[in-house]
Symmetry: C2
Subunit: 384 residues, 2 copies
């Protein structure tokens, strides 16, 4: 077996995540490992919790990063909040709504879905109609920023409707946290999960979550154990809670160094300033895309500023374009997922990736490749 | 909110894990992040799989790291191999055997336990008696190297007995992999999990697992879905398997850079040489401990060479000693867990931590603190 150290190519990451990681965060991840129960580490954990509260705009005590990627954070929220037999309303308008439903089914919940087309936001009226017809629903689950379609749903309105019908609110903020306003307390979200590798610009591997006090009460009074020992919040509280820290699992020490540094950078910039930066770079990208006749898949009011779903132009092979961007420009953009395979590109401008240089580079690379591909396909037609 | 970058203290990690991480591995973790579906990343994933096969001494195609710590690897093995109602024999001789049982219960299995005292290995005769009395058992689960007690059980013999009774074999190799012989194919282990932060000397956060072809067949023909979507092997196969890679979750890219480098170092040293090194440094530590009248908790034939459980000397406050070692010497050793709280120290010499310098430093620090504590407690007696 003759392998060598892995030297990754220097990519520009403008896909749906991971985003470019700032050198400060990478440098932090390479610092010496200490024990997961070291007093110094526990002090750092407390700072991570406080900075995550700032990121989520919440006072929730149970705010911490799950030691695994966003999909595990989703599972942590669903598995803890849902008991077997519970009726759960799941809003589906993309891959991650579907995945939420799948998670509900696996833990024994009974999902009722509110379906909207991929590329459309969740329709509040449909949610209200569904809740009228399902007065025994316990939880409403939805995706704030659908990573698969680049659509933003109106989280505040959806949460308000859910509360009017006495439901707990479970929200996916994987792609929204840090990029657009996420206000957990103002919107009264009971359980939320995110990912480290989107607008926080950490490497993937951690899933920040937050649970409201009433969600914690519900979880503490469950009649059944959470199926997952690893994700059982009542056990995790012993390690991440406010009292003396009790060993549960071994936390990913160096990944948490990285998250600490990334959150520190967020506090230095200010979260409103980060939201404004994402908006500003989106506007520049949008103007540039319109100038090269690339059109958005999503209608203006529902577009995420940091994950731009654009229609693959007619006659263009999407896989070929992405492959050329990666090979010739070291530039990663995302493909369509699920129902949108081959139909859209997903151009992310998330976290540290959201800057004018990347906007400019993306526009010139994309226009060069598209022009070349059109020329190629027209010369192919001439030859045919 | 006024925080600063976190600068960890420079510890010497001689506890039950994490172990000291080699600068090469830390440096690798800080390299630029690329996409989890980047062709270059997928090429690196293939190398990780091959090097893990070497580490586990197996040809199993389904050998890969779960994107979360060892506790999630345990859950991945149990949740996939056990269906609701299955009778499962769980050998318990420490914290992690207990945790295995807890995982079996949570996924709906019916555990039957083989109990041995903490500090003793699993008794093969008891396992055989249990299987005679429970001919409908489907799986035998045991811990190879009990991290909580420093005991090594005879995995080869236990697995052979399990196979004689037609059972699948599920093994915890969290602390054994890389430190002592682990031979998955020779011993016919069907499902095994480990951790990155013990004898592989990576930061915590990844759990290498391996499933035999017959385990994979069993999992593919399950009658029920695995409760955990995140840990469902039939879905994970799409991302880590041999065909075209399909997105499942976002892998922890930089953590995997670190594991790649650590495994590379293992192949450079040679696994037999790594086992011999752990043995050699254990012998030196043992001689030194005997010279300062510190005795082992575990009988010689069952001692792990890389996790030394020693009895807290009479009249000594274990928490005080550990706290002084950390504060005055930047040296971490482990406490007792569960039934052994206050009764033992756990001194790890794992992975990169297993070297003569650490043996020497540990012995001098421990003897200085113990001598000082004895002096203190005798002067306390005089004063009393």
């Amino acid at each position: 077996m003759k392998f060598r150290s892995f030297t990754p190519p220097l990519r520009t990451l403008l896909g749906p995540g991971p985003s470019d990681v700032h050198p400060r965060v990478r440098e932090a991840m390479g610092r010496p490992t200490i024990g997961h129960l070291d007093p110094e580490f526990i002090r750092m954990m407390d700072e991570v919790k406080q900075m995550l509260q700032y990121g989520f705009q919440t006072q929730n005590a149970m705010t911490f990063p799950v030691s695994a990627p966003g999909s595990a954070g989703m599972e942590a929220c669903v598995a803890n909040l849902v008991e077997p037999g519970d009726k759960i309303v799941v809003c589906q308008n993309g891959v991650f709504g579907r995945r939420l439903r799948e998670n509900v089914v696996r833990v024994g919940g009974r999902p009722v879905t509110v379906d909207d087309a991929w590329g459309e936001p969740v329709d509040p009226q449909k949610l209200e109609d569904c809740l009228k017809a399902n007065s025994d629903a316990k939880v409403v689950a939805f995706v704030h920023a659908e990573t698969s379609t680049g659509v933003c749903s109106d989280a505040e309105t959806l949460a308000a409707i859910a509360h009017r019908y006495g439901c707990f609110v479970l929200m996916d903020a994987v792609t929204s946290l840090g990029g657009i306003p996420v206000r957990i307390d103002d919107w009264r979200i009971d359980a939320v999960y995110s990912g480290s590798q989107k607008c926080l610009s950490c490497p993937p591997g951690l899933s920040p979550v937050s649970f409201s006090p009433r969600a914690v009460e519900r979880i503490k009074s469950r009649k059944t154990h959470v199926t997952s020992w690893f994700l059982d919040l009542t056990l995790l509280m012993g390690y991440w809670g406010d009292g003396k820290r009790v060993y549960h699992h071994t936390a990913p020490v160096n990944a948490l160094y990285g998250l600490h540094e990334a959150l520190l950078m967020l506090t230095e910039e200010g979260i409103e300033q980060a939201w404004a930066r994402h908006r500003r770079n989106h506007d520049a990208l949008r103007e540039g895309l319109e100038a090269i006749d690339v059109s958005f898949y999503v209608k203006p009011p529902f577009r995420l500023p940091h994950l731009n779903a654009v229609t693959v132009p007619r006659g263009i092979d999407d896989a070929r374009v992405r492959e050329r961007l990666l090979r010739e420009y070291d530039l990663e953009i995302g493909a369509g997922l699920g129902d949108l395979v081959g139909k859209i590109f997903r151009i992310g401008l998330m976290g540290h990736s959201s800057n004018p240089k990347n906007v400019s580079y993306c526009l010139s690379a994309l226009s060069e490749v598209l022009m070349d591909e059109r020329r190629g396909s027209s010369s192919n037609r001439v030859l045919a």
